[in-house]
Point group: C2
Chain length 155, copies 2
Amino acid sequence: MKLPTSTEWVLHCATSLAQLRPGDTASAAQLAAYFDLPAPYLAKQLQALTRAGILAATTGPRGGFRLARAPKDVTMLQIVEAVDGPVAPYECREIRQQGRGALSPQECQETCVLARTMAEAHAAWRAHLAGVSLADILEELPSGAPARTRRLLIG
Amino acid sequence: MKLPTSTEWVLHCATSLAQLRPGDTASAAQLAAYFDLPAPYLAKQLQALTRAGILAATTGPRGGFRLARAPKDVTMLQIVEAVDGPVAPYECREIRQQGRGALSPQECQETCVLARTMAEAHAAWRAHLAGVSLADILEELPSGAPARTRRLLIG
DNA sequence: GAGGTTCTACTCGGATAGTTAGTGTCCGAGTCGCCATGG
DNA sequence: CCATGGCGACTCGGACACTAACTATCCGAGTAGAACCTC
């Protein structure tokens, strides 16, 4: 069970974009330079966030990415699932209905206890990430952070 | 983020082994036939559980695998982490200390909020799985299940 | 001097190779049970 | 009939190919801005 490395990238990028003034944008190249990341691949991940409706992209000079919503309306779960996909890590393939010990479909109307427990654990994970928004993240940063970010990112 | 397919296998296998009488064992071939799984690869995964101390293996005729502890002392978390490894899905590589916006090590003594939140979510996931033991699973099965499992698995 | 037009440079977007982790498979070492044999 | 030695078959354990996903990269389509020319 491993999240893509780019998960960390987009989380930091989204946090940085949340510190810009409304209307300002940062290009993929600027974000890549800010964190020393491979620009083309980062751009690909930012595209995924754009498709998910988290970021808005504008082309042309002075273009780039910005948050599509207010920071309080963007949760960490949305960001993580935008880049990693919304699939659960545990996939029940109903092996209890296969082989010598196969149960009848009639006995398997309820989801098996193992799959249910794994799903509950995943739900707990999602719930925790859904409870933290970018606004919550920004509150924990030092007071001078947004100005510094703006200066070094797009200044 | 994806768990290996074999996670489902070992969860079901451990549940089945928990239904055997004390002292009885089931071989990898028997378990593979019971669930219609590729026997050699299943054996590889059961080895991992043996190394983790969850199963005990005996060789020779009438040998096979059995639980190394009482079902109430085997949690789903232990099984999952035995086959998937104990690593967290999110790995913080401290990109905040790289690039143009690099923070000084002095400013990074506390773990960053993003990594902390991801770790908390993972902790919630682990806690849920650690709270369910094989004994809890067995209680939810129909009353006739253990006898049926024994009959079809090693009978 | 003002407006329109053209041009340039910069942006994102999708299609294309390389590398690691998981998947599937095989063969060898060790051990217990069975059978033949001898007493 | 019983004990013993040998044999055989079955078990797990580790080492070897194959596939899919993530990682990394490139080039093309579109657009905003600026410069230039004309009126």
